[in-house]
Symmetry: D2
Subunit: 494 residues, 4 copies
Amino acid sequence: MRVEDIFHQPPPPNEHPCWEDPVLPSVLKRILPESVLQAIEPDLTRLGHDLINIVRPLAAQVRLPTITHYNAWGERIDLLQTSEGWRTLKNLAVKEGYISNAYERKYHEYSRVYMFAKCMMMTGDFHVIMCPFGMTDGAARLIELFGNERMKDEILPRLISRDPADSYLCGQWMTESPGGSDVSRTETKATPTTTSSTDLGAAYLLDGFKWFSSAAEGNMSVALARTGDLASGSGALSLFVVPIRFQSFPTPLSNNIQIHRLKDKVGTHGVPTAELSLNSARGWLIGGLNEGVKTIAPMLNITRIHSAIHSIGSLQRCLSIARSYATVRTVAGGKLLESIPLHMENLANITILYAALTHFTFGAVSLLGKSECNVATREEQARLRLLTPAVKGFTALKAVTAMEECMAALGGQGYMEETGFGRLIRDAMVEKIWEGTVDVMALDLIRATRDGYTLESFCQWAAKIISRSPVKSDALLLLQDVINQLPSLFRENF
Amino acid sequence: MRVEDIFHQPPPPNEHPCWEDPVLPSVLKRILPESVLQAIEPDLTRLGHDLINIVRPLAAQVRLPTITHYNAWGERIDLLQTSEGWRTLKNLAVKEGYISNAYERKYHEYSRVYMFAKCMMMTGDFHVIMCPFGMTDGAARLIELFGNERMKDEILPRLISRDPADSYLCGQWMTESPGGSDVSRTETKATPTTTSSTDLGAAYLLDGFKWFSSAAEGNMSVALARTGDLASGSGALSLFVVPIRFQSFPTPLSNNIQIHRLKDKVGTHGVPTAELSLNSARGWLIGGLNEGVKTIAPMLNITRIHSAIHSIGSLQRCLSIARSYATVRTVAGGKLLESIPLHMENLANITILYAALTHFTFGAVSLLGKSECNVATREEQARLRLLTPAVKGFTALKAVTAMEECMAALGGQGYMEETGFGRLIRDAMVEKIWEGTVDVMALDLIRATRDGYTLESFCQWAAKIISRSPVKSDALLLLQDVINQLPSLFRENF
Amino acid sequence: MRVEDIFHQPPPPNEHPCWEDPVLPSVLKRILPESVLQAIEPDLTRLGHDLINIVRPLAAQVRLPTITHYNAWGERIDLLQTSEGWRTLKNLAVKEGYISNAYERKYHEYSRVYMFAKCMMMTGDFHVIMCPFGMTDGAARLIELFGNERMKDEILPRLISRDPADSYLCGQWMTESPGGSDVSRTETKATPTTTSSTDLGAAYLLDGFKWFSSAAEGNMSVALARTGDLASGSGALSLFVVPIRFQSFPTPLSNNIQIHRLKDKVGTHGVPTAELSLNSARGWLIGGLNEGVKTIAPMLNITRIHSAIHSIGSLQRCLSIARSYATVRTVAGGKLLESIPLHMENLANITILYAALTHFTFGAVSLLGKSECNVATREEQARLRLLTPAVKGFTALKAVTAMEECMAALGGQGYMEETGFGRLIRDAMVEKIWEGTVDVMALDLIRATRDGYTLESFCQWAAKIISRSPVKSDALLLLQDVINQLPSLFRENF
Amino acid sequence: MRVEDIFHQPPPPNEHPCWEDPVLPSVLKRILPESVLQAIEPDLTRLGHDLINIVRPLAAQVRLPTITHYNAWGERIDLLQTSEGWRTLKNLAVKEGYISNAYERKYHEYSRVYMFAKCMMMTGDFHVIMCPFGMTDGAARLIELFGNERMKDEILPRLISRDPADSYLCGQWMTESPGGSDVSRTETKATPTTTSSTDLGAAYLLDGFKWFSSAAEGNMSVALARTGDLASGSGALSLFVVPIRFQSFPTPLSNNIQIHRLKDKVGTHGVPTAELSLNSARGWLIGGLNEGVKTIAPMLNITRIHSAIHSIGSLQRCLSIARSYATVRTVAGGKLLESIPLHMENLANITILYAALTHFTFGAVSLLGKSECNVATREEQARLRLLTPAVKGFTALKAVTAMEECMAALGGQGYMEETGFGRLIRDAMVEKIWEGTVDVMALDLIRATRDGYTLESFCQWAAKIISRSPVKSDALLLLQDVINQLPSLFRENF
């Protein structure tokens, strides 16, 4: 008995991540004008083929980053090295316009839909690239909204560049050890200096310790720091642009920043997440003094959409493998797995969930696109505000369990690393946590409804939708009831 | 700013895995006579302390096993080496009587409850030790039921030994590449020989390729092989005892067995799972010729209970960490996390699920104990038959998602490997797959009801239970209805 | 006491690998006409800077290659993956013209001196690139001498290409397990086929097992195989061109070749060395039938020169570090290490050895250049033949111990991996073994003298050299005496 | 062609490390009285078998130690973990009486010969265990000579214990970054405290940074620190006993010591060598104030003998493999390698060197034994003083190159890690550096001759030896001449 002679399961064929998906084409058709859809079709087609042929094989090269604290001669260097695969993916994502597709606004208010459709297609093979790129996206928006001229001239073009040699990645440093996601307890202090060392404005010196710093390999970060006393809580926080590896700064991490350790995370293994200390690192104020929390809000809304896209994109990939496997695996009697009703019922249930989450998310994406192009109505602005935490929290809540069902649909093969479920699930688990847990989202949802208008206009909109729906019933009353009980019902009944 | 000077979160204190658990004491109190509970109490108390002080720190030493196929001189050796931590855990489990507690039957029909209570306590820190030990348990039962005298004298005492120097581990080799969990397509052939090389009886020579072979480090295995033609399906399969590393056999894997590779699994990293080829490996028949599927059934029932225990034990550990963390983590305003209602509502919901799964599982355990001591009524035998696949499938279906909620209850810290959730979740994911997926369990549940008696007697029993319950209502009708729709409702509504 | 505050040794500055070397400029000046020296000077200058700035930092990316034998679905794939650093180095070496500098013959008979001067400069930072490239060099020479037209048209241009996308690497498969370096015991059989599958000629099918197969990542190999019976020893061996990854062949290793394992070597860690089985792999005859040993000889002579260059280039790098370190390290009394006589005496002794080995080696290189351009006299041809094994064996015998002295010249710092000595020494150790041990070289030296002419002409040449030297004495008599005792004196007294 | 079917070289048989060695038995016979030899013979026999059967297979478990700087919650812990193999070897060495054989003095002045004969036998398989144990040996001697009563009662018995549960390992912290081996530039300061915290005497607080700290896993260390100003050089250094993990101290490394990193060494991979900072670590004076250099001298003399034993023991093992291989490897014509004169001439040359180094070293060992038992004459004391640096430096200078010749004697197989040469050579390379380079030894040799008596008495002794020798000649004059030129001749002509 030679292993060469035994049965080998034919591998499941690769599906096109857009056109062979059961949901994405209908989402695009529903939202986009036909002209836009026709315009982007060739790019989506090409991207799908590139994902299968070029990107997917890079998976084996994505490994843990490493940190070397000292050189041979005893000098502290904090040399951070990411893996070959990760660096290749970053360059490919820049070239693909992962962020710039949104900022070039070639398709006006539909640009965000186009951009996030590509992001979703890329999710399965890009190993959580949305982490640094989502933050970069948010930072670009902040500079667009609040940056000074110099920032708009020097930094913004690099954040949205399509040229890897020229582009900047940006991190977001909020979390500190005592407060966790509660920024009101931020301890990092920012001290103003009198002289302006660059055209970015008068520099502050930041001192503190940031506990979860993703994109530690990036070129810059935005960081919350205290510009008043601790008792003032989040009312004395300001937001700063902090260079890490600017072309105009001499050496890596020379901005008085130390990497204490790389986090030993359950997933997102290509991404270097660090504990950092700022030891009088220079930073430049963005937005108003003591208005840090308000200033950073648009960034958080963008990263939360990225998070939702990561959840549904990960589920998409798992479901695709499971669906594809059912077309090549034979079971008793020589029948294909796809002919077994019980098996297909399972996949159908997952598909329904996947469809719901995808339409839900792209609803918010569509509103974001309108908002950024200033064509959103007041009602749409309010709806976007309400839906953003809901989309982020709900996709995170539902996607991983469904992915685990897809894994089980391959039996023992699903539990092998080579089929990819393990990595996808480990990575997707972070979405319940990153950028705010489900509880944090639920509380943000309440906060969004406090103005009186947001909730009311949402209910009116929902009533209209429901009245148009074939399944009318008493859903409207139920909806009102449900909303009244937010957020304790958030988890189970949203 | 020195890292030494920053805030360090005090670590969550360790809870006693039995007495500080919110469910296990009440389960034991409900099932066990007071005399038995008093007798085992000191052992459970000591075990809890040993788990915290001795076993838990071993985690860092549990690593992937390695295989060396050739020695320096080109000879094929297939040298399998497991990690220090894994070897230590195995020895500790043997000394703890992981299996022998059940077979010594010191507490008669309650021995299984005692034994599985210990197994459950150990789950969180024993890194899927239930995999090889569960199969060893099943093999012990097979020999008790069907083994010849020589097997009972030579092998059984080692399978249930408390002495690591003397004990045997046993694997279970069923899965083959073409058929997966469908044993009817087993290709491995067994050819009888005329001479008896040992007192175990006349040997067969087995030739084939086993695709998932857990416990590849073990001393023996039970293996299904074909003793008739392929067209006869599972009706021409017999069961064999196959030595790997018997004391009476000269060298490792000398029984004409080759390890082709170790599986690259998503979890259960300490456990060596292999692809094996049998190249005229000697095996001895256990049970009747061509009755392999029937013979192995008692083993599968036992490993399924082990699987359920692993699911609930893993959830127990995750919930314990989350509960404990809430007692030391402060949030805004200096309040402890355990004083935040929204947070505690989440933990309470998980606890309700955990309680339900634990009572459910130990109900089956209690029946197993009675059955093995021959004090089970016919109705109890039938109920055990019905519940075994349900317990296995349902715990697997529900535990992991709840564990992921526990992880998120620590925020970013939960996603760090050091807090342990990642490993526990990766390991527990296997339970949806190992020993039969949820679909396989559902189909087995139907099979169990085919005799007419099993389902009817179960409904009568359930009706009696429900009628005693304060929430009488129309639950009985619902139950009948639900059962009629088995198994399509299995996943969602069981 | 913070580590940031303690003393850090300033790192030793980088010396230019040619112009700051104490020996290489004088070698080039002695051998090359001034016009050639002027012509190549800018290239050597640039290369030196590139080595320091571009190539040296790649060291951390050179790691062990990996082999994956099976894909997820059980199919044998033997996927060989080399490290990022190694792949980058290979591409850089191709672009640098590592081989093509010799074959373009831009500087006529001096092309080899130019080419090997560059190879020597590159040695310290190219991690044994000479292994696959040296064999590729030899293969190019074989095809130049013995290849058919098709080989000259299709293969030769790729072997000497400067374009990484287009170039071929070639291995050399001689060693088998029973015979080691004794090719007379080659067991691999070549069976002729009647049909010609390509224009390379009628194919043979090769079956056998090659024990040390360097450049397993290459595109082709030359392999010795038996075309007569075993009793005929090396008289029944022929040489074959064996494709591995030709552009005209479909998939990696598709030529019926299996990689059984990658060798676990003491050094040369970037290089994938494999145990290979040929299972009816196609090969094409090069050179005459049953004339394999004679045919391969020019290849061996070239790889032996590469070996010598690797020995002296490795010593050059170690000596450079030690010399440079002495200019920055202060000792008692604040004096620099370079002012301590005892220390500098050690370095001077090593430098004398290094100078001798370098002049010795480039003497042979110069003759090789003449020979390849057909301007060598009969006496020079004979001298090249005699010196080739001597140069290879003697540099290997002397270099490593001198490198270890350089390591010790940095004290404890020399024993740290970061300073590079460990890697250089481990790699250089292979030169005592690879392409024939010192004993094999000694025996080849005897073989070279058997024709009567070679030894006599060498002695006359040597006598002339000595008579010109200021230290005339009775060296001539000694020389005669020494040569008479070859090779038992080879090791101790050459 | 299956790999199972190809030729496998039979592995070289294991030789008994004492009785089958070509030199050690004659050394023991020459030095020891017959009664002692008879008494120790069974122990040496047993040890040899244990080395082959128990210790040698542990090699695969000796790996790099790891350091974890922070726990999950951000607290600095500097958790040092050594590999399973290394821990097992340490325990075996303690049980074997690696150190205690010398201090129990069961065989009076011959105890050191007995003890070091065992150490030498163990060298090949104990992975540089001499590093921490040699320092522990030296520390035991220091306490025997200079310790207070409390140190003799509490510490000494643990340093020479045979019980792993009870024994202490001791490091030696001298080297600092600025001075390297030049202790006169020691910067670590010791500040006296007024109160005595333990019975060891009044504590000092040590502050500084130690650059090479071997045995970082140990229980204590002896450390040089400055008790006067820097200008006083080595005249203001004192020696301190510094606890790391005493049973009376609460937690690992609690004595205000931080491990900044583990050294990335070329060899000695099992041994944790660290960069340490002392941040007011408590230490207790041993020997006189400001007499640190004088106090530590006996320790250095002992560690230097250990170093020499490591050099010759490593060579012994390499030579044994090469010799053994020659008995099983066949070459052309079916002859064994051991029948090839050229090959055996090489091995004979190495054996002569090995014999010389072994007799040389054990001469010093014999004198050390006499000295410690107070039976050495003044002339023998002087000779021991003179020979100690010579033995250390000379064995280091000669052993590695000879080991590399042994490696090459196996051809390509010697370059494979599995045959062990690589590890042995990497480890032995440290002996040219550790405890003083050859230059430092040479300078110490001069220092030893400064008293006028030492050199003269040595020459008289040497003259006597030479006059007894059959090869009288004018060796005596030569000797006188050579000694006059010490140490410039040390390296080349000793």
